[in-house]
Symmetry: C2
Subunit: 238 residues, 2 copies
Amino acid sequence: MRVEIWSDIACPWCYIGKVRFEKGLAEFAHRDQVEVVHRSFELEPGRAKGKTEQVIDVLVAKYGRTREEAAAMVADVAANAQAEGLGYRSEGQETGSTFDIHRLLHLAKARGRQDELLTLAYRANFAEERSVFDEDVLLALAAEAGLDADEARAVLADPEAYADEVRADEREASELGANAVPFFVLDRRYGISGGQPSEVFVQALEQAWKDRPVTTLATVGGDAAACGPDGACEVPKG
Amino acid sequence: MRVEIWSDIACPWCYIGKVRFEKGLAEFAHRDQVEVVHRSFELEPGRAKGKTEQVIDVLVAKYGRTREEAAAMVADVAANAQAEGLGYRSEGQETGSTFDIHRLLHLAKARGRQDELLTLAYRANFAEERSVFDEDVLLALAAEAGLDADEARAVLADPEAYADEVRADEREASELGANAVPFFVLDRRYGISGGQPSEVFVQALEQAWKDRPVTTLATVGGDAAACGPDGACEVPKG
């Protein structure tokens, strides 16, 4: 079974939802047969690279909250994170373009280190005093995740490296009807939106497992040379 | 789109079919949006580790061919390989248990080096005078594919490392009705058996692309906290 998770590093409910999903997955009997893939989603795809702002200021200026309301929202998220055992820094948190982080996460995917880098990037952004919008921080995170430092640097230096992969993920999110994150897709059959309680993930995994369709493949091409366990490698006689 | 290819290192039509598929893929307009995954399939799942035999002897003893027929079969495969630009050694080729190679290919998958290792293993087995049934050769191939040597050694030393992943692939092949390899599955909707000409792969890719279903996901779970591009991170009011 395959679970795809669309998320953004700048999204606190993605940070929390990832851990809630993992707790649900840990309780799922067939967890060894679940493959998890992280997919890119930018909350602000138009944001210019390098332009960062304080999260509190964005909540006030862009979404019309009072400073008190904004602080209460952050405190609510922090309480939810802490209830899951996650660190959460209460102030100084920035937001900015996450495009480069997503490109780097695609390199990490290609190198089998995607979950490692994503976990470190979330922690840096939400729990530590490190800006994921700073290239030196990103390079340090890449190295901590086990990526080759030169390869990570080359990806960050080339704005088109893995850019198509980020855009393809975002196009797929749109095709699947996802307009907010985190968004979890099980075997392209079930969708789960938001940082749900872990029980919801357990239930969804069990449901998707039980309902696994018996796949009947349409056949393309005629007979062709193949090797089978019950005979040598046969070439069909035309 | 996702293409899964079930194959065995000991299967010459898998070696040839891989290259024919890649030629077809290279002609496919949406090739950048195709993800290829290699899956395990043992032609002889019961074969004891370490017990190798000459391929010609197996064709004679197990499949009742005369020595001349067996030599003609090998020559036919060699001609097909060479027509695709692949090397093929005409004699001395061994067969044996491929379970450890498949386990190592799963490590390579986890590290983003699966295609590299598979390509090298095929070449060693079919074109070079190297036995992929020899642990030292496997370790050398792993290093050439960019894997960490210590990690590869640890996997080979532990017979259960990635063993479940090999068996899960084989179970899925059976569920999908594959009883010979290579077996290509496009988006779990189309199946292509055997080392087909590359045009068949182009046609299959185009068909699967055109027929991509509009996925409608069933929803699991109620409203939950999420972040959307058109607002802050909202917690639904219960």
